[in-house]
Symmetry: C2
Subunit: 536 residues, 2 copies
């Protein structure tokens, strides 16, 4: 029902309104759906590429999500398409590491993943919000099954090494107590007439009623140990059955301790538009999407192709590349147009004859550093011992997050945790260590939250994105200033070259940024190709 | 880590503390787990029934969850067990209606479910909270696979026919705007020194910082149209990729409209201990649990056995019953002990020689009325058109809820919604109608939220619990007063008869109440049997 207001959407909306008036609501919905309109923003739906000039060709650089979306749509529209990909697989950052996989990072350290069958870690993206209808649409088209990704788990931990004696608290305790205290304080202010100037007496009555529900307050608008509060934060003794079944309330955390702990800082994670329910993950690992695209495009993708130079002239684009399986080789590919999705830190090192503006934009965007640890344990102790099924524990330790699998609950075999999702300075420190040290540190830190780590740890992998040869970083970091100065330049077509990828979007770090950026770029490339008519 | 404080638990806790001191944390966790201690409350874990008197027998009435849990444990402990079940299937209220199923309610109306293969509705329980470790433990033992149940969906609707012109709002809008306004008002009160007596200046600073995060407030602590607010409530135009990708903020709902709408009343649903993430459902329908128990117990269960009288004497219990497939038949079963799980409205009509206290307790508990509608549609329009994947829409219309399936996302075939989960007066009104009228009304009301209902509706079923012959109601409704007066009497063993079921628990209406009640009752029956030694 939500919609948007671009000129294109407005004309569709007019059409829909007329359908609604003449044929009724159901027909309108069908029309909305078939027009790709309902709740979709511009860019989610593939562009209309009708009328491709006969024989026109596009060279796509990079078989990540942006490159493969572009290749898929351009091929379907009748363009001759070739994709050059540095890796030996499709997907780019869309990637699952599974048992048997081998990964060599910059600097030469090689990791052999030894996870059990069916277990995996996603070094890159690991969740898909419901409104990322672009990538979701490709999952549907390519037959990639989706299952729920559990972001918020009230029984996972919030942990500060500086609060509560370093003992982790359950998220439900922090959330219930924060809401309870906030509701009590605002109720008190309201009843002491502090809002009299700003809120009408009628609204104050309704506000008080709402605060009681919101904060689990008692009849006097106080938040305290009670069955109502425990029915949010958990009980000291759960209600049960039969005799001796009466529940025993738990004791809330006091306001000062709660504010001091800083644990409220993570409470709104699940309210963020990109993190709110419902989220998805592909069954079997995020990499299923890249793999499906790779199968779909088949021989259009040339793997192990490392681009070394990009040169455009008035009639087309020539790309020089090496076959990385044949050191010293030098090959070329040429097409009328080039869609380049190479991550900016890599692209910045490749000679390319584009204008000053685009060159400056490419140089202006640093990439986020991030490290992900995948740890295999001998049993799913987080479920068996602690009743944590999916979701994330947040901690102020350098590992920052522990992510629990959203699937395979109660499996009797081994299990893999996201043992750390590390940002900023900590990520740089982890990146500087050899992979086995990163894993060792992850186990060390994690054991302060889960003591079972020490005896249950089996093996692990650690991907430090600044050492990933095909991106040299996790994703593009824009600021308001660099956006204002360089973003449009990065996206504008330069002669015969257009850039696409999450870096060329307002949804940085998400696959949806890659999809919508690719849709936008190929629509503009197509318009140019049509305007120029038949290729030379 | 949470634990409880019964004497039994305390002694185990002492043991665990010693293990922790001598062998370290990991060993302690293993011991906690093997003792069934970690985060389990008394009653979640099956009782120790060692030392059953040789040849002792128990007659279990009812093959619902409570009866089958009891039969399973008693059988495993060496008791001779027979179960009498009124229905032709195991499970009781644990029940999934699937295509081909036939259901006849009190009054004779028969419904033939015509859902497509793989689609179902759960007329009874439909979700399992993570802390219901009793029923979860049986799923694990019996090999019933669990998958996430989506309770909270920020993109589902909150709908009031009296607010916003009857137009449904997305939950994310109501939640973000409520939190935003509450945070702004409390920040304002704080900065105007209304809290000066109650909160220290240091805490006020931290509180303000926390409110900005909690409410998505701007630097001046106001909640207004902004990218920060839209990053909770959703945008007017989503961020996208390429050029023209800039997001456009949406306009929050004003405080007065928000309070007037009463839609805040449902905001805390997902914070309730029984509804908070993570929740589960069995793959294939809740009925998979009852079916698995039925297979496990096999010939111990006699189906189509309608109990007509229960008579105890000093040496045992004799139960008279009819084989409902042979009208007029009269059979008897006898055992040393009887565990009766028959729902109270049915039990109250069966002659049984028990004391005044138990008889009064049985008569004292009315059962909730509730109606559930299962509606099959020709396509999953809620996903395709409206991006609603799982979760619940809340409405003030008599249907009260619309529940969306948590599985099978993007299936190209038909789909089944929970078209209404109806309580109170509305439930009585729906119950009074013939099933096809209930379905028709459900479609009529639902179409005010989803206009697609009218053209996409395929077929439906409607279960009104007051007309369900085997319970005559949905679950026992206790008040504080009836609990104080009758609860212990209901649970105490009367001679050779013990009652169990959700009605004999503090977790009314949940399967966990049935499990914990059964565990408690058989533990006490067993103690009596052991005290009495060999059976006569």
């Amino acid at each position: 029902m939500d919609s948007e207001s671009s000129p294109d959407a407005m004309s569709r909306r007019e059409l829909l309104r007329m359908i609604g008036l003449t044929a009724g609501g159901a027909a309108m919905y069908q029309a909305m759906s078939s027009l790709g309109f309902a709740a979709e923003s511009p860019g989610h739906a593939p562009p209309d590429l009708a009328g491709a000039p006969r024989g026109a060709s596009v060279l796509v650089l990079g078989a990540g999500i942006a490159g493969m979306v572009a290749a898929y749509q351009l091929r379907n529209a009748g363009y001759r398409v070739q994709v050059l990909e540095y890796n030996g697989r499709a997907g780019g950052r869309n990637w699952s590491l599974r048992g048997g996989d081998v990964y060599t990072e910059l600097g030469g350290a090689t990791q052999h993943c030894r996870f059990d069958d069916g277990l995996y870690i996603n070094p890159g993206p690991w969740r898909i919000p419901y409104h990322h209808q672009g990538i979701i649409g490709y999952c549907r088209k390519l037959g990639v099954a989706l299952e729920p990704f559990i972001q918020i788990n009230y029984n996972a931990y919030m942990h500060s090494s500086k609060a509560f004696g370093g003992k982790p608290r359950r998220m439900r305790e922090i959330k219930a107590d924060y809401q309870g205290h906030v509701a009590e304080l605002l109720a008190k202010s309201t009843r002491q007439h502090a809002l009299d100037g700003a809120v009408t007496p009628e609204d104050q009555e309704k506000l008080l009623e709402s605060l009681r529900a919101f904060g689990a307050l008692d009849k006097d608008f106080t938040y305290k140990a009670s069955l109502a509060a425990s029915d949010r934060r958990g009980f000291q003794k759960d209600p049960g059955g039969g005799l001796s079944a009466r529940p025993v309330p738990s004791e809330p955390i006091g306001l000062t301790d709660l504010l001091d702990s800083q644990l409220w800082g993570m409470l709104s994670m699940g309210d963020a538009y990109d993190m709110q329910q419902t989220l998805f993950q592909p069954v079997g690992g995020m990499g299923r999407i890249g793999e499906a695209f790779g199968r779909e495009l088949g021989p259009l993708i040339r793997y192990n192709a490392k681009v070394t130079a990009i040169e455009q002239d008035p009639r087309g684009v020539t790309v020089r590349y090496q076959d990385t399986t044949r050191p010293g080789s030098s090959l070329t590919a040429r097409a009328d147009w080039c869609l380049c999705t190479i991550p900016l830190p890599v692209l910045a090192q490749i000679p390319m004859n584009v204008g000053r503006e685009l060159a400056a934009a490419i140089a202006a965007v640093p990439y986020s550093s991030s490290v992900k640890l995948g740890l295999q344990f001998k049993r799913r102790f987080w479920e068996e011992d602690e009743q944590i099924y999916g979701g994330i524990t947040y901690t102020d330790l350098p590992i920052m997050n522990i992510g629990y699998p959203s699937t395979g609950f109660h499996g009797s075999g081994k299990g893999v945790l996201l043992g750390g999702y590390i940002w900023g300075l900590s990520a740089l420190e982890f990146t500087a260590l050899p992979p086995e040290e990163r894993v060792r540190l992850g186990v060390e830190y994690g054991s302060r939250i889960h003591p079972q780590y020490r005896s249950e740890f089996d093996n692990g992998v650690a991907v430090a994105w600044h050492r990933v040869p095909f991106t040299l970083g996790c994703f593009g970091l824009w600021t308001e200033e660099t956006r204002a100065k360089h973003y449009d330049d990065l996206c504008r077509i330069d002669g015969r070259i257009a850039l696409a990828g999450e870096h060329a979007s307002f949804i940085g770090g998400w696959q949806e940024g890659a999809v919508t950026s690719a849709h936008d770029a190929i629509a503009r490339l197509h318009a140019r190709a049509v305007a120029q008519g038949e290729p030379a």
